[in-house]
Symmetry: C2
Subunit: 344 residues, 2 copies
DNA sequence: TTGAAAGCGCTAACAG
DNA sequence: CTGTTAGCGCTTTCAA
């Protein structure tokens, strides 16, 4: 099967430890031996067995990226992953990818063989919505260092400043002169039983509230009684665009909401931004779909990097709780916002 | 640090091998010992060290997902990943995630040093566009079993039937009565030097050609001389919507092209589908952005699963080359296609 | 029904 | 400069 140190040793006529030393650039060796050993290792196509190395060192040099089974519960934007990788690359650490089975399928003491078996020094948890209590418990019990990405916790987490996004998006509109600014809610935030929704939705709403109240403006929510499925968003948006008391601006803080709102406006013959200003939030440039949406961009690359960096620190010092790291979004002007047109 | 078999043995007052036997449900043991050992293992929070197991078995029980460093070169749709995981879960195999750093890609030694250290029994290569020759060479040389996802190779690959997508999309429009059907190319397919573009773009084009030629219809390409960047797609689309000889239907076989085409049409006062029919291709339901686009969906979950399954077979039987597996896309009606409006 | 011993591939301490 | 030896955590004979 795979080439081992021992085999190289035989071929090169030296001992295994000599091979090990030379391949790891340790000790003082005869230049000839050194060359010969390196050459045979190359010829034989030697690849060190990381498992053996790990077992020896007592470290795995490997961390786990924990995801929900269902992609909607733990969205992993490509640049977040890129950030994680870049940080790891600097430290020669590998990434193992683990998906937890659906929450419903979990017994109280069974989290998935993946996490029950040890092959990583720490956990990067990108499980965002509907986080199962079994997971939280497991993380607390197991002594594994862990960092949460994009979810809210007292310690050991990295997330965007969603409150500020809500606040700033609203301020942006207010400063342009808007007074009648709606907050779009297609998820049913008003429903008390939906606490499992991603925290950002509530934070956006609170940021909006704060900005509106500071100015003494009335809140204005746009929502259906039900949580709208994607297929209905366009229709519903067209519907409320027809209302006579239509707002002059709307916060649609998900691109999956902003696009149908934008398109619905066009279909209703409204001009954007003259008749309706729209602000949204994107995870990635490509989310814009080549549309000129005014948007806040979640700093996904930075989140990935920062979370990984935090985890590596925790691995060195597992006892230490880390302050939550809250990163700011960046703003792109776009062209879906303008001062309101006077309404005669 | 972590709890070991030896520690359990001490606590339970038995030998390490007994512990191992019992935890793996092997051998005949006294029910009392059995219970005691299991209990202490539980109490101590024992989790087997996979590295030690792996070293013993001579297998890693782990495969690598190889990605490009730059996310645009190896797009990994969430459901593809889900398919990979589901297949692996059935076999108790782990997934390690590796990104090949771009800058050093030309350096052969570097690429192999990355892949060399992978602790895996095989490679799942999700590197789609601009595949570096160093990678291809490495895969051929190294004896690691490997399967390519979403790229075209003579053997050992799983990909969608993009030719058929192009063909069927065109047929769909033809059968509705369209004769003037344009193929949208915002990537510069006509430029000979762009062979590195993803194969699907060329296959879509060929499928379109085939369907048009069968009917004796004239090809009609929409493209700029340059490869359009996202920011310009909307403007360019608006521009060609104004042309008097505008086609009655268009193939925009990427959602990133279809959305700006659709929106540009609305901005120009065109009705979709009455004035312009649009067909597109999506990777995921969510790509639709709640718009009613008529679309072919890439079978990403199935691709992930099938590729993984193929890889597992190759790991068992590394010598065997596998026939490429070409999966069909599914069609969703949407409402952006209709018979052409008679043009007086 | 249980335990001792060997060994997977690798590295580090210690001899020589 | 190089080799011997021991041991990481685990499993698997084989013997008791």
């Amino acid at each position: 099967m795979a080439v081992t140190v021992k085999q190289i040793a035989q071929h090169a006529g030296v001992s295994a430890s000599t091979v090990s030393h030379i391949l790891n650039n340790r000790g003082q060796y005869n230049e000839k031996t050194r060359a010969r050993v390196k050459q045979t290792a190359d010829d034989l196509g030697y690849r060190p067995n990381r498992f053996a190395q790990g077992i020896r060192k007592g470290r795995f040099d490997c961390i786990s990226l924990v995801l929900a089974h269902c992609p909607t519960l733990s969205y992993l934007p490509p640049y977040r992953l890129a950030g994680i990788h870049d940080e790891l690359l600097d430290h020669g650490i590998h990434l193992v990818n683990s998906k937890l089975p659906e929450p419903q399928l979990e017994n109280k003491d069974y989290i998935s063989s993946i996490l029950r078996e040890l092959m990583s020094d720490g956990l990067l948890i990108n499980y965002n919505t509907k986080i199962p209590t079994t997971l939280t418990q497991f993380v607390e019990q197991s002594q594994l260092p862990a960092v949460w990405i994009n979810s809210k916790h007292d310690v050991d987490c990295v997330r965007p400043d969603d409150l500020k996004i809500g606040y700033q998006a609203t301020r942006h509109l207010i400063e342009m002169g808007h007074r009648d600014i709606a907050f779009l809610d297609y998820q049913g935030l008003h429903d008390q039983s939906r606490v499992w929704l991603h925290y950002s939705a509530f934070d956006h709403l609170n940021g909006y509230r704060q900005a509106m109240e500071e100015e003494g403006l009335d809140l204005s929510m746009v929502h259906d009684q039900t949580m709208l499925v994607p297929e209905d968003k366009l229709d519903f948006s067209r519907h409320w665009h027809q209302q006579p008391n239509r707002p002059t601006a709307v916060l649609a803080l998900t691109v999956l909401d902003a696009v149908p709102v934008y398109v619905a406006a066009l279909l209703q013959g409204l001009k954007v931004p003259e008749d309706l200003s729209i602000v949204t939030v994107i995870n990635d440039k490509l989310d814009l779909m080549s549309l000129p949406l005014t948007a806040f961009t979640i700093p996904n690359y930075e989140m990935g990097r920062a979370a990984t960096s935090m985890l590596l620190k925790k691995i060195k010092n597992p006892a230490k709780k880390m302050e939550p790291l809250i990163l700011e979004a960046t703003f792109s002007q776009g062209s879906t916002c303008a001062p309101p047109t006077p309404n005669y």
